[in-house]
């Protein structure tokens, strides 16, 4: 016993300053506990503060205590002197272990006394015992963990970091809820309120864990006569530091990877009415919250989605949410970006008398397909098929006027010779030149030409291959995506080359051009140029010059849409563009609002709604550099 006392005195003397520092931390913690208890009106406030004390201050104290008692001893190598004395190594370790534990329990006892005495509703003996037992076992387990860490010497912080990351990974990638397990459950939010039941399972798990941790600590301290602990206590080399940092970064990367790969929860709309058809679900919320209207529209949409899913043999379709926005023009639609949840959410003025239901359907189905393909279909290779599909789909279901789509295609290609296979390979530029809706009309006409050659089944097969082939969103896309490329899909579905399709396509357009007579020539075409005006060496103005051919018989209202391109941007979404309405021809040449600096890039085009095409025609989107 005397030996033990001598050892305790030695420890106290050796770590006097450190213990004084720990006392300071504990005082701070007590002050916090008392202040919280006095300022918060809730009867449970002192016990809540005790919980914070256990979760925040006690692990810190245990970490510092084991750092002093174990790490300081071994890293300084002073344990060698103790080993030279006539006492067993296990005694030395036990004294350190118990001294730390007793100090922590003393700190806990004072905290419990303060918490109980400041409680406006005094806990009875049973509740006090439950709280004390839970706190003590929790603290013991935590201390054992850090005590073991102490014997890992220079590896202790990597060890703590890896354990922490491991817990995080486990919680994140599985359904395991660690907060309801073992020592974590002992200090969960029931600590302040549980009056009758002891969490036996948590206590047992904690006890088992503390036995394992303590045994491991003793094993490390005693095996090979303590030489392992002595070796780990040495300073970490650069290589080790870097190796651990690499492991840490690899863990973080894994975590990020799992986070990216994790399927987000489906989005749920607070209001609105939902309908299901197979795996397809649609939810609609109109402005006037008429449940009947909402449900009817939701049913129509779920049927539409299910039909498209079957047609394309899609593995899944995202849930669709349609919310009415009354301060939106009837021809405008917008998609919301749902954060950390899945689904496609669109807003439109769906009950407006001039609402363009067909255009909205084409727009939304395109968005659904993009989402289902995780944006793969936005790539240039597939873009023309995607653009054409939604119109082809509506045509197949007789929901759109085929003549108008053909007219758009004829407007897009004034002469059949201009249509060539290479055009499909730079479809994103074609889309910029023609505008989304006209480009979609042209793409539709391509699918219509394919239908003439291969029949509806052939087109369906082709579309399934291009739009619904599962392509993993990772490196594997490099060898799986080629199967979905239109050139190959065309060959496999219809035995056609792209050039052969283009020949058919030209023939179809030529035939339609003959039927339409001079109608296409009468449709307006726009050209716009921007001229730079130098205001000073640092400022520039822009003037637009618009030409409409053939010259309109009466004044027109055109729209000039423009916006500054940031960074490496090559285009901008419609919402992000300013709009200026221009009376043509009076203001065909006029100043564009805004002052620009040399080197800036301005993205702009003029557009005009053409009733015969039921869409806008554009002068071609372009980026002008202000020089």
């Amino acid at each position: 016993m005397k030996t033990w006392l001598i050892l305790v005195r030695k420890e106290v003397r050796q770590h006097l300053w450190a213990l004084a520092g720990l006392l300071l931390i504990c005082m701070l913690a007590y002050l916090n506990l008392v202040a919280y208890s006095l300022t918060e009106a809730a009867p449970s406030a002192p016990l809540q503060a005790l919980r914070a004390f256990l979760i925040v201050y006690m692990p810190l104290t245990a970490l510092l205590l084991s750092g002093r008692l174990v790490v300081a001893e071994y890293s300084a190598g002073t344990q060698v002197f103790l080993e030279g004395l006539p006492l067993a190594r296990v005694t030395m370790v036990t004294v350190k272990y118990l001294l730390g534990l007793v100090l922590l329990f003393l700190a806990l006892a004072l905290a419990l006394t303060l918490a109980f005495s400041f409680s406006s509703v005094q806990p009875d003996l049973r509740q006090s015992t439950i709280i004390a037992l839970r706190s003590a076992v929790y603290l013991w387990t935590i201390y054992s963990f850090f005590f073991l860490g102490g014997f890992l010497g220079r590896y202790r912080f990597p060890f703590y970091g890896l354990v922490g990351l491991g817990f995080l990974l486990l919680t994140y990638s599985t359904d395991v809820d660690l907060s309801r397990w073992g020592p974590f459950a002992l200090v969960d939010n029931t600590l302040a309120f549980e009056r009758s039941n002891l969490p036996w399972m948590a206590l047992l798990w904690s006890a088992a864990l503390l036995i394992v941790l303590t045994s491991a600590a003793y094993a490390l301290a005693l095996i090979r006569e303590g030489s392992v602990a002595a070796l780990t206590a040495q300073k970490m080399s650069y290589r080790e530091k870097i190796a651990f940092t690499m492991v840490f970064m690899a863990f973080l990367t894994t975590f990020t990877y799992l986070d990216e790969r994790k399927d987000p929860e489906p989005f749920e709309l607070v209001l609105g009415s939902s309908a299901h058809d197979g795996y397809a679900t649609a939810t609609v919320l109109t402005a006037y919250e008429s449940e009947e209207t909402d449900h009817q529209m939701a049913q129509e949409w779920s049927r539409e989605l299910a039909a498209m899913q079957r047609f394309l043999d899609l593995a899944w379709v995202p849930q669709v949410f349609i919310v009415e926005r009354t301060d939106l023009d009837p021809d405008l639609f917008e998609q919301g970006q749902i954060q950390d949840a899945s689904g496609v959410l669109a807003r439109a003025h769906i009950t407006h008398p001039d609402f363009r239901a067909g255009a909205f359907k084409a727009w939304l189905l395109r968005r659904v397909l993009l989402d289902a393909s995780r944006q793969r279909l936005e790539e240039e290779t597939y873009a023309w098929v995607l653009d054409g599909f939604s119109l082809y789909w509506l045509d197949e279901r007789s929901q759109i006027d085929r003549g108008i789509l053909m007219l758009r295609a004829l407007w897009a290609v004034p002469q059949e010779d201009e249509l060539e296979a290479a055009l499909l390979g730079r479809w994103l530029s074609v889309r910029e030149q023609l505008g989304q809706e006209v480009a979609a009309g042209l793409a539709y006409s391509g699918l219509a030409a394919l239908r003439q050659r291969c029949g509806p089944e052939g087109v369906q097969d082709f579309l399934r291959r291009v739009l619904a082939t599962p392509v993993p969103r990772d490196l594997r896309a490099l060898w799986t995506a080629p199967a979905a490329r239109p050139v190959r899909a065309l060959q496999e579905a219809c035995g056609l080359s792209l050039e052969e399709l283009v020949q058919d396509w030209k023939a179809l357009l030529a035939e339609n051009r003959r039927q339409s007579g001079l109608l296409v020539e009468s449709l307006p075409r726009l050209e716009m140029d921007l001229e730079v005006e130098a205001f000073s060496s640092l400022s520039r103005g822009l003037r637009h010059r618009i030409t409409v051919t053939p010259r309109p018989a009466q004044a027109l209202l055109l729209e000039v849409r423009y916006g500054r391109l940031q960074g490496l941007e090559v285009r901008k979404e419609p919402q992000k563009l300013h709009l200026q309405v221009v009376r043509y021809p009076d203001r065909a040449e006029d100043a564009l609002p805004g002052t620009y600096t040399p080197g800036e890039r301005v993205y702009a085009a003029a557009q005009l709604y053409v009733p015969l095409l039921r869409c806008n025609v554009v002068s071609g989107w372009r980026a002008w550099e202000v020089d």
Binding site: K241, M249, D327, D329, I338, L345, V471, L568, L579, G599
Partner: protein, 642 residues
């Protein structure tokens, strides 16, 4: 045969192998993550545009950590491991040794951005499409040399700080902390932040090089290297040895512990700044109440449309509404200009961008109008509002805003004239509806002109809608009695700036009307006569409206008023107004509607803290948007003693 210097560089590179491996590891890790989570064909040179984002801070952190870790022992290790004595014996100077170390360190840290750029280029090759043809090689080269300057700065400072041994990290963190603190006081310092070197803004396909920061940070880096070189090559070794001893002594340890606190502060500050949730980017509308997750919608940009009289600025999501309004706006506005006998000058600015304006249809300011476009789907109503607000703009312009000095006195004229023109030019079919409250109130003798000449009191006594109703009828009488010339005379009246300036209320009105050669009493006679004639015409409708009374009860701390209005026709509903002080302003009045046989309610404690309160009962027509109030009366929450 290799020169000794090259051998030295090789030796240092060998020593830095772990760091080199780490640089490579980091660069590869980035690409691995991308290849595991993205389509390889959709990854472009995005890292070149990381300015003003967390990515820049993360990149700086990687560079700084790597540079500081690498330089922490760059000079002192030779002392500590006693290899310096051996190197001193070789035919190389300490300056050469120093240069070799710095070069090797620069090369090692630069390996990361070099490799990352190379990987970026490879990925970009897969992802190029017809819209993204450019290779951005100039930008890439700029990015690399800017990274080089940053790394030179970090290596320089790191080498100098390494002489502080274990204090070096602490000193680095303190430098960051001091810089952040100083930048808070002198924002101009932000221009010298190392972060500005990481992907600055792009213009003309190239970065706008932040030369001030390049020169400042480059100079600091070189100066630090110079100081470190002076100490290493020319200084006495005893200083470093003594510093080492000091750190191992008790005062050194105490200093270390004391310095830990600010370092802890820096760490918490840095962690907190990372942990704080990023605000949504500019131009994004966030809806958190729509469903189970936050949804972000891009804001629609503004649009402009100029007509002869107006310059509309509006959100581009409402362009069709403005395009409908624009053709009729000029014609309607021209009538207002003609009425006031004035010619249009610069177009009136119409700001229709306030999408959240639900409590007003329009507002007029000097030469500008705010129009609540989103909440007025009816074109006719919009046109009426535009006429109304144009009238306000012209009244202000013709009177040179001098009527604003008497706004409380003439508000009934201001709003009345604007409403008169609105209903005369556009909403003619709604004029009778607008006038009805004035007719009823006159029939019940609930106002006089003194009250009309004090709009604050008028609003408190009879509600805000009455200002428009009474005002419109008064304006109609003035137009009839004085003619358009008379109205213009009132507005252009030079006496507004002179004799009338100090008058308010009825005396102002008398002098004002008289200054234009008319008599207020006679005009008021016409005004009342017109109202009386209207009342006779609408006798049936007026008599059909009950004069509401109330049964007052107090239950569970609430004052309940059961409105007694037998035979109240639809769409009228009872309404009550409560106030605790007879002089309380409109803002302190509590309004409660009594729907579906329910009583009006007010909390007794707040309305009648001493048992007495003031009550006004009325009936409101929700369709037409006005209320007819009975006069205020005092009431108590306690029964009178028997």
């Amino acid at each position: 045969m290799a020169s000794p210097f090259r051998v030295l560089v090789g030796k240092e590179l060998l020593a830095f192998r772990p760091f080199l491996a780490f640089s490579v590891f980091l660069a590869v890790l980035d690409s691995v993550l991308v290849l595991l989570t993205e389509y390889p064909t959709r990854v472009r040179l995005d890292f070149l545009t990381t300015q003003h984002s967390d990515s820049a801070a993360v990149l700086f952190f990687i560079f700084a950590a790597l540079a500081l870790a690498l330089t922490s022992g760059i000079l002192l290790r030779e002392y500590d491991e006693r290899t310096l004595e051996f190197l001193d014996g070789l035919p190389v100077s300490r300056s050469q040794l120093f240069a070799a170390k710095v070069l090797a360190a620069l090369g090692t840290v630069m390996a990361y951005p070099l490799l990352a750029s190379l990987e970026g280029l490879v990925m970009h090759a897969f992802a190029r499409d017809s819209l993204h043809q450019a290779w951005h090689l100039g930008l890439l080269a700029q990015s690399l040399w800017l990274d080089g300057v940053l790394i030179l700065f970090l290596i320089g400072v790191g080498t100098l700080l390494s002489l502080l041994r274990r204090f070096s990290w602490m000193a680095a963190l303190l430098m960051i902390f001091s810089f952040r603190l100083a930048a808070g006081w002198f924002p101009a310092l932000e221009g010298y932040s190392p972060l500005v070197l990481i992907a600055p803004p792009i213009r003309g396909g190239l970065y706008v090089v932040p030369w001030k920061a390049v020169l400042a940070l480059g100079s600091i880096g070189l100066l630090s290297l110079l100081l470190a070189w002076v100490q290493f090559a020319r200084g006495s070794d005893w200083l470093l040895i003594a510093w080492g001893r000091f750190q191992r002594s008790t005062p050194g340890k105490i200093l270390l512990v004391l310095a830990l606190f600010p370092v802890l502060g820096v760490c918490i500050f840095l962690l907190a700044s990372f942990a704080l949730e990023d605000p949504p980017p500019a131009g994004v509308q966030v809806d958190s109440d729509l469903g189970s997750a936050e949804v972000r919608f891009p804001d629609w940009k503004t649009a402009e449309l100029r007509t002869q009289l107006y310059e509309f600025v509006y959100p581009s999501n409402l362009r069709s509404r403005v395009l409908e309004l624009a053709p009729v706006a000029d014609a309607a506005g021209r009538k207002v200009f003609d009425f006031f006998q004035t010619e249009p000058g610069e177009p009136i600015a119409v700001d229709a961008t306030a999408n959240d304006a639900t409590h007003y249809a329009g507002l007029a300011e000097w030469q500008s109008i705010t129009l609540a476009l989103a909440h007025q789907p009816d074109l006719k109503e919009l046109e009426g509002t535009l006429v109304h607000e144009t009238a306000h703009v012209l009244i202000d312009e013709l009177s040179n805003r001098r009527l604003r000095d008497h706004f409380n006195t003439v508000r009934v004229f201001h709003e009345g004239l604007a409403s008169y023109l609105e209903h005369d030019f556009v909403l003619t079919e709604k004029r009778a509806q607008l006038r009805f409250p004035a007719i009823v109130l006159r029939d019940r003798r609930l106002f006089d002109f003194e009250l009309m000449a004090d709009s604050t009191r008028l609003e408190a006594e009879l509600g805000i809608e009455v200002i428009y109703s009474l005002g419109e009828r008064l304006a109609a009488t003035l137009v009839k009695g004085m003619g358009q010339d008379g109205i213009v005379c009132l507005l252009r009246n030079p006496d507004l700036a002179a004799g009338l300036r100090h008058l308010q209320g009825v005396p102002f009105w008398q002098a004002w009307i008289q200054s234009c050669g008319h008599d207020l009493e006679s005009l008021l006679g016409d005004f009342y006569l017109a109202l009386d004639q209207d009342a006779r015409r609408l006798r049936g409708q007026i008599d059909a409206l009950p004069r509401p009374r109330g049964r007052i009860e107090v239950e569970e701390g609430n004052i309940l008023v059961y409105v007694l209005a037998p035979g109240l026709p639809k769409p009228w509903e009872p309404v009550c107004r409560f106030k605790s002080d007879p002089q309380a302003s409109v803002d302190d009045v509590h309004v409660s509607y009594a729907y579906l046989e329910e009583p009006c309610r007010a909390e007794a404690q707040s309305i009648a803290p001493n048992g007495t309160f003031y009550l006004q009962i009325g009936i409101t027509n929700f369709d037409a948007g006005y209320t007819l109030y009975e006069p205020w009366f005092p009431a108590t929450t306690t029964p009178a003693a028997q």
